[in-house]
Chain length 157, copies 2
């Protein structure tokens, strides 16, 4: 058995695992008062962080245009997860910060991710999970997380 699996299975497995985590986390979120957040939003909140940011900065962190970041912020503002305030030191900028609701969502999702990780550690053993993560770090060295999934996946150009 030199070649147990065809090479195309590896990316599928990676993605299935990714999706399994995200789905589990969002099932958790729905159960804890955040039924309307989309998978994307979690990453946006993470990128905003507790100290706030601006549209341009958010765009850079997520690897999308500032316009796209602005649209996302507008949507999140309407849902009550973030709020915008003028920057006292620079009238061009608008500070984007998480509301209490946004902070709560971030806390719930952090707990959820930790719980999932713990469950996985229990399933395959903590040392196996640690090895898995170490190997992933080696193979896909830590780049910034980029959020342009739809465009990346579907558009090439």
């Amino acid at each position: 058995m030199v070649e147990p699996t065809p090479g195309y299975e590896l990316p599928l497995q990676l993605f299935a695992a990714f999706r399994a985590i995200i789905d589990a986390a969002h099932a958790d979120l729905a159960r804890h008062g955040h039924p309307d957040v989309k998978p994307m939003h979690g990453f946006v909140f993470q990128a905003i962080g507790t100290s706030g940011t601006t549209a341009v900065e958010l765009g850079k962190r997520l690897g999308i245009s500032k316009q796209a970041a602005g649209k996302t912020i507008a949507g999140l503002e309407q849902q009550g997860y973030v709020e915008r305030a003028a920057d006292p030191g620079d009238a061009r900028r608008k500070l984007v910060r998480l509301t209490a609701k946004g902070v709560d969502m971030l806390a719930v999702s952090a707990r959820s991710f930790d719980a999932i990780q713990a469950r996985w550690a229990q399933t395959i053993g903590p040392e196996r999970l640690a090895a898995l993560q170490a190997d992933l770090r080696t193979l896909a060295p830590g780049e910034v997380f980029r959020l342009d999934i739809p465009g990346w996946f579907g558009a090439d150009r």
Copy 2:
């Protein structure tokens, strides 16, 4: 150090690894005569397979509506990757099959995925990679691969 990484890193690592593979494969494809295929298309080709399928069947396999499948097929047909023919046994159905170009693309991508897998095996060691794949299979047991990434990622639940 009981908890070396916060739980939210795990999905990010998984996705980064997934993306690294896909990007490498498509760089390969671009170098071998298929510069205009998008990440999505590879999965579509895989779902069509060498024996062909229909729009409805394709939609089921990819977890998207038959209309979306039809649109994708139309695009691929225009690019010369698939062709449609009437089903002699059922005048409602239209058989979708890969053209020679489509088959070639599938072959190139298969070779590419194998090469990437081999490279990874070399990097972390074959037994580590085997362990990684075995663990992923355990943690995200083999579901059907679903292609509705854009909608899934961005749609509410």
